[in-house]
Amino acid sequence: MTNHWVDIKNADLILIMGGNAAEAHPCGFKWVTEAKAYRKARLIVVDPRFTRSAAVADYYAPIRAGSDIAFLAGLINYLLSHDKIHHDYVRSYTDFSFLVKADFGFENGIFTGYDPEKHSYDKASWGYQLGDDGFVLTDPTLQDPRCVYQLMKAHYARYTPEMVSTICGTPQDAFLKVCEMIAETSASDRVMTIMYALGWTQHSQGSQMIRTGAMVQLLLGNIGKPGGGMNALRGHSNIQGLTDLGLLSNLLPGYMTLAGEKEQDFAAYLDKRSPKPLRPGQLSYMQNYPKFFVSTMKAWFGDAATAENNWAYDWLPKLDKTHDILQVFEDMNAGKMNGYICQGFNPLASAPCKIKVSGALSKLKFMVVIDPLATETSEFWQDHGEYNDVDPTKIATEVFRLPSTCFAEEDGSLVSSSRVLQWHWKAANPPGEARADQEIIAGLFLKLRELYAKDGGAFPDPILNLTWRYKQPHFPSPEELAREFNGRALADVTDPKDATKVLVKKGEQLNGFAELRADGSTACGCWIFAGAWSEKGNLMARRDNSDPYGIGQTLDWAWAWPANRRVLYNRASCDPAGKPYDPSRMLVAWDGVNGRWGGSDIPDFKPDSNPTDGMGPFIMNPEGVARFFAVDKMADGPFPEHYEPMESPLANNPMHPDNPLARANPAARVFKGDWDSFGKPDQFPYVATTYRLTEHFHYWTKHCRSSSVIQPEQFVEIGETLAAERGIRSGDHVRVRSNRGHIVAVAVVTKRLRSLSVEGKQVHTVGIPIHWGFMGVARNGYLTNTLTPFVGDANTQTPEFKAFLVNVEKIQTIV
């Protein structure tokens, strides 16, 4: 979230699209009801299903699953053509006036540089025109046809309300009603927030859906403002933290990136990640990258990381490609992998295409499952009848199942979607011999290190030199680990402006990432977490909930990254002169008297930068402004374009009916063998979408009695029209088939799933909640990833769980 949960109460309009906050995040959704009740805010829900969020919405518009870009692109077109944009904001804080390279183009659904063989783009032409000074050329009059504004206007003019309705199935009047309501927030004192979740991410074009939403927010001037922002509602309690800590194939802590194998030169590696400002007077904060990187290496490898060995740069693995979960299961299925460790993760249920995952796991030599609960993954080899029909005697994988603690049995911190790190305390001992996760990792690591120390082996250096300064090596305490990722001074850290002034003494905890140094004098495990545990103590454990400004900015409650800032880009809540656009909801403002920024939040800005200096509010971008034109940051184009889901009821993309290459996302990665696994609309005529229900959490709560009482048994939702066509009544058992498998479930026939008129034909949606499986106290059911396609978003490889094709039939008798 750019903003945070409580801040939603400051919104005038809330758009929930690509998410279902009322069901998936009920306690955060309370701030929507607060905004409605006390700010007279309106709530719009756009969703294929009339969800429980829609139940309390002021306006609901249906949409075909997977067509969100078309809807939002139509909205952009509406805002531009009706001149409902925040002029001051877009001129000052975005790349509206930036000139784009002359050879960039877009034709028949494909951007320049496409290689149909590789399904990817050469992005050389996706950039700005640079002047001789290295700065981007601009046209403040916005007249130049190569300026971002003009290009964008032309790009989105194609998304007329008629076209939107044709693609999305949303009735035109409903679409226009949503546009009108949203357009009102282009006023300075009206703010909209967008709340989305996996309804946007889990598409082959998911990242671009989110980008389109962000572009809408930028046009309306809603980013950085209280009650505004782009708010990704993360799905798990610490998925934010794990992402922050870089537990992804290609990341290092704090969104630093691992080097590719071609990046053999350390200086070049740093240089590429420390961009110089692209406009005069801009901060381009990531120029500090070397400080973050070196400090992390010092935290990990201590004295073994030296300037001479490039801070152990070579010890980090170098990427050939991204080994995300889809790639890993592809490789595993191809027999290229031998071992796998699943720590609190249930991929047999969570990863797409169960049959492929199951086959892949069966090819492993060993698998280790670390979990508090008996998961499906840990029993992938076991015969569970129709729900997991395998022959154990044919599966040679050795499986270890290690019991870990749950939340109640450990200390530690979690990062909420608001980016707030909150400490929690252990209440009881775990059952039996269960151990805390860090104790299990320590046990494994120390055993490995012992073996490497004794017997040697492949490249033991990083293993033998990994810092392990824990008082009880077998039980690194959460406190020690938190202090380590916060960072400490290895030597006195002095003020760069005054070398005699010691900011932090040797051995002391750091107060923030501003104190990091690239010379090895600081160690910091995760730079964005620097400040969480300073010499003041554990700031994540703070419990002062006072809200002095009354707008929900509880700065003394726990600690938020970065730098305890609660609303990102908050400089943009002020006009270029530093005055809040809406003084009644002030986040920060320029205090001319003291020459500093201040207010109810920590300024997301250089704190002493006078507005007259013209520094842009988006300091993480070398441009200093927000980008409508994504330059080379996206895999599938600088401007979002509608593509059909990989499995779509339409034969062609209505935007580009005669270009089969532009039917689905041209840059989406599909593994060779998987093309045949996609179903066609003649056999699988209905659009399916999978989702969570409010009663359950993923595949965990089926192990809990209370959740199982209130939602006991697997079901699918079917609209009344489709049900009538197929002779299905509520309570009947139905079989839902995709080209990859089938599930059997109870039918819930509902008015809430409408059939939509798409390109003149009626498209039905089948809703498939995900929560059941063959382990647990709830009634056993099928893992719904039996149905889902093995394809991910072009940028993030997030699987396309939200739009695929199925067929449905009534089962006459249940055996």
């Binding site: 610490n238 194939s249 720590q343 290690l402 011999e433 494994l444 959460p478 959490f697 209370s706 993030t796």
Partner: protein, 195 residues
């Protein structure tokens, strides 16, 4: 028949009052009714965070006993933390039922091992588990570690064993896990951010 409420009670009271006592001489028993005793009166309260979605609701865990040496702390109740600025004491149905997660019959209690082609689990000790897993990992790493790629570039990576990290584990666990995985040269490394 449409007696008003008031009439109804009057008739009742008059009839009952006169007849019951006079006829039978039984006296009604004392009009006492105690509510169920408040069950958390002296339970120990511990502050924690809900492990499900990312709202990060504050919760209060109530355990049996006062943490004295001989009292085994058992979680007996969980409810929302009213001080928490986001949830303000509220919890969703999953959070409100967290006790059933802590006490689920499907909690794992000891390390288990499933041999190749076996149909069942067998209990093993932690030490056996660590020793055996470490040996398997080392064997695989030593055999398949790639120090340099075909182009002769230093890559120091281990692709044949991978790891998925837990989206509900703490930052502290996550940080340690990251150190662990990268020190081994792992790249087949992911978490639940996508699903």
């Amino acid at each position: 028949m449409n007696l008003s409420r008031r009439q109804f009670f009057k008739v009742c009271a008059a009839g009952a009052g006169t007849t019951s006592l006079a006829l039978l001489g039984f006296s009604p028993d004392a009009a006492l009714a105690e509510v169920r005793a408040f069950k958390l009166a002296n339970a120990t309260e511990t502050r924690n965070t809900c492990p499900y979605c990312s709202v990060g609701c504050g919760i209060l865990i109530y355990t049996l006993g006062d943490r004295s040496k001989n009292a085994h702390a058992e979680v007996i109740h969980i409810e929302g933390d009213p001080d928490h600025p986001v949830n303000r004491g509220t919890l969703c149905p999953k959070g409100a039922g967290l006790l059933d997660f802590v006490q689920s019959e499907n909690r794992l209690k000891y390390p288990e091992y499933r041999a190749p082609n076996s149909r069942e689990w067998q209990r093993i000790t932690w030490d056996d588990a660590f020793t055996r897993i470490a040996r398997l990992m080392k064997e695989d790493r030593d055999a398949n570690f790639v120090a340099t790629n075909e182009a002769g570039q230093t890559v120091n990576r281990w692709l044949s064993t991978g790891m998925l990290a837990a989206s509900a584990s703490s930052n502290e666990t996550g940080y340690l896990t990251h150190k662990f995985a990268r020190s081994l040269g792992m790249l087949a490394f992911d978490n639940q951010a996508r699903v």
